[in-house]
Amino acid sequence: MTERENILGRIHEALQVKAPRPGLHDDAREHTDTEPPAAHAREWLPFVGAGVEDQFALFAKNCAELKADFQRLASRGELKAALVKIRDAEKWQRIASHDGELSNFACQAIGLPTLLTDQGYDVQALEKCDAGITECDALIAQTGGVVVTSRSAGGRALSILPPHHVVIARREQLVSDLPAAFAWLQEKYTPDFPSMISFITGPSRTGDIERILVLGAHGPKKLTILCV
């Protein structure tokens, strides 16, 4: 017998005796297999407001708490101006990005030597870039988070290795809450998921020394989200 068969056999034997359902007491609510217990998550998670404007306001408030920089921009012109401003303020020398309609526009606007990760790249060169510019799959109002995948954001390393991660998003990419984000991902990618899906909620952080917050533990010290 293989270990797989051994383990599955032990599990099968152990499950011959059923365990009681947890903590129901006087709660008679039953769920069927078509309706998982977590299906109502939206009713219990933090409130997100009613309309898109409320949700943008919540997203902005969450970003501020997370120390992520969020800017809503009215046009491509404003996007260009915002990028140029950051480039000059931080004295960027070289950047990294990936192929995409918005990211290509951003790279042109910045106008610096650009490493594109799509077609294979040198990791040491990526590590020396001042910023990683990526697109994203969704913005989540409830958490102030950004969803990136290995397919939509230039692979796994681009959004985590450079010290400044700049996300360029479209305003219609804002979703209200986590259940909506998961539903959207499932709809978009089933059955062929990207090998990595990452929910990024603020810049990299640690509190491992005396619970004092330090940004940029291993990942980006700065996270900027520009939404047009």
Partner: protein, 464 residues
């Protein structure tokens, strides 16, 4: 004779006497508690969320075999190598074999309690591999050659000055004792390690049966880097980590963040469904997922305590436990400490050797109340006490209770015992707490209340 119980007792005595340490830990955990309460109150209904999380885990664990088959077949379909390990030794051997096959020398690790459980670092170093922990707290305790103090905050027992001295001694690099400067020292060192390591090693927080994914939760980004840059990735996964559906994460991720660290959402929550896929820019060429049983199936076979497998390792029960706050994490001598560790360790490592942990509790139930997946922790501690007594009865304790029963049921004996007690009490006072004292286990740290001259019964009889 040194036993696990006597070592526990010795360490607990030393730590409870260390008042600055207790103060330091309590302050840290109070900070956690207020942050957690703030986040909990942002939920529209934390209690409903807990109930749903408990039921979801219940459904997952009670169909564990089906979920593991679904999970592994989906992982394999996308090119992941799945390995099954019944024991810790098998898991270590599987991992060592992968490293040998790949001619690996250096391994970068992100935090994984399962690797503490199977003592992986010792095995790897013994076999001549170089291992670096990338999580800052884990890196600090690795440099100190210590085990993690807490399952979520491994270095919470250390002050910045101690960490500065450690970095000075081990790394020769310390600008100041400011947490930011210390963190940047680790960041600088680690950057090149991610790039040059042959193998990246991770744990996992959840595994999704429906889509064949594992999910990793972290704040620092070290796990993201560990699973992006090295050519080979290894993930060690306890078999109980499954969730049925992808959408379940929408509930579990914010609950883990809230209960674990008082955050609305942990910084990086990342789902992996395979090695680098065609058309993707980077990622490991090979991904090995090692499923670990290590006596989890024995816990599964106990329907009374099966819910202990619901645990998502958030650490909430440790943070609120009055015992943990006073004796500290290292006293337990186990990778999983606090209430959940006291419940599962006797199952994972032997009931008789570890039954003393069932008494490392005030039975206040704070742990059960804090648990986001509603594990009935303090009752499980009582059940472990019962099981330990049933499988190996304590003869003297039994005899003592038998005699007590006899005396208490017979008024004449009771009167006599009271008289003897009243007469003997003045004799006990001068030897209080010494080896001559028959009740020294109690009186060593406490005063025995003095017996009244007249009992209630006598007073009632003699009134007016």
């Amino acid at each position: 004779m040194r036993t696990f119980a006597s070592e526990f007792k010795a360490r607990a005595t030393a730590k409870t006497g260390d008042l600055p340490h207790r103060q330091f830990i309590r302050t840290a955990l109070r900070g956690y508690e207020s942050a957690r309460d703030r986040r909990k109150s942002a939920f529209q209904s934390w209690e409903s969320a807990r109930q749903a999380a408990a039921e979801t885990k219940w459904a997952a664990v009670n169909h564990l075999d089906e979920h593991l088959v679904s999970l592994t077949s989906k992982l394999e379909a996308r090119g992941t190598n799945v390995h099954w390990a019944s024991t810790a030794a098998q898991a270590r051997e599987i991992i060592l074999q992968i490293l040998r096959d790949k001619n690996a020398r250096t391994i970068i690790k992100s935090k994984a309690m399962t690797s503490e459980e199977i003592h992986l670092n010792d095995a790897l170093e013994h076999a001549g591999f170089s291992v670096v922990e990338s999580d800052l707290g884990e890196f600090i305790v690795q440099l100190r050659r210590e085990t993690p103090y807490h399952i979520v905050f491994p270095s919470m027992h250390l002050r910045r000055g101690e960490i500065r001295e450690l970095f000075q001694r081990e790394l020769g690099d310390t600008p100041s004792d400011h947490p930011e400067d210390l963190t940047m020292v680790a960041r600088r060192i680690m950057r090149q390690k991610y790039i040059t390591a042959d193998v990246g090693f991770t744990g996992a927080n959840f595994a999704i049966s429906e889509t064949g994914m594992i999910s990793i939760t972290e704040n620092e980004g070290n796990s993201r880097l560990t699973s992006a840059l090295p050519k080979t990735m290894i993930t060690l996964l306890g078999i109980e980590k499954v969730l049925p559906r992808f959408a379940d994460l929408a509930l579990f991720l914010p609950m883990l963040a809230t209960a674990g660290a008082g955050q609305p959402m942990t910084c990086y929550n990342t789902m992996y469904s395979g090695p680098r896929q065609p058309g993707e820019a980077d990622g490991p060429e090979e991904w090995h997922v090692v499923l670990l049983d290590n006596r989890r199936t024995e816990l599964l076979a106990d329907p009374e305590q099966r819910d202990a497998l619901h645990c998502i390792r958030c650490g909430a029960c440790l943070n609120v436990c009055p015992i943990f706050r006073n004796v500290g994490g290292h006293t337990y001598g186990t990778p999983y400490s606090g209430p959940i560790g006291s419940v599962i360790t006797p199952h994972l490592r032997g009931l008789q050797d570890w039954k003393h942990l069932s008494s490392a509790s005030s039975l206040c139930g704070a742990c059960t109340e804090a648990c986001p997946v509603k594990i009935d922790l303090h009752h499980h501690l009582l059940q472990n006490r019962r099981n330990a007594a049933a499988s190996k009865p304590a003869i003297f304790e039994r005899l003592a209770y038998k005699i007590l029963g006899l005396v208490a049921n017979e008024p004449k004996f009771w009167q006599l015992a009271k008289k003897i007690g009243w007469l003997a009490q003045p004799l006990q006072a001068p030897v209080k707490g010494t080896f001559l004292d028959p009740v020294k286990a109690w009186t060593k740290t406490r005063d025995l209340p003095s017996m009244p001259r007249e009992s209630f019964k006598d007073w009632w009889r003699n009134r007016k």
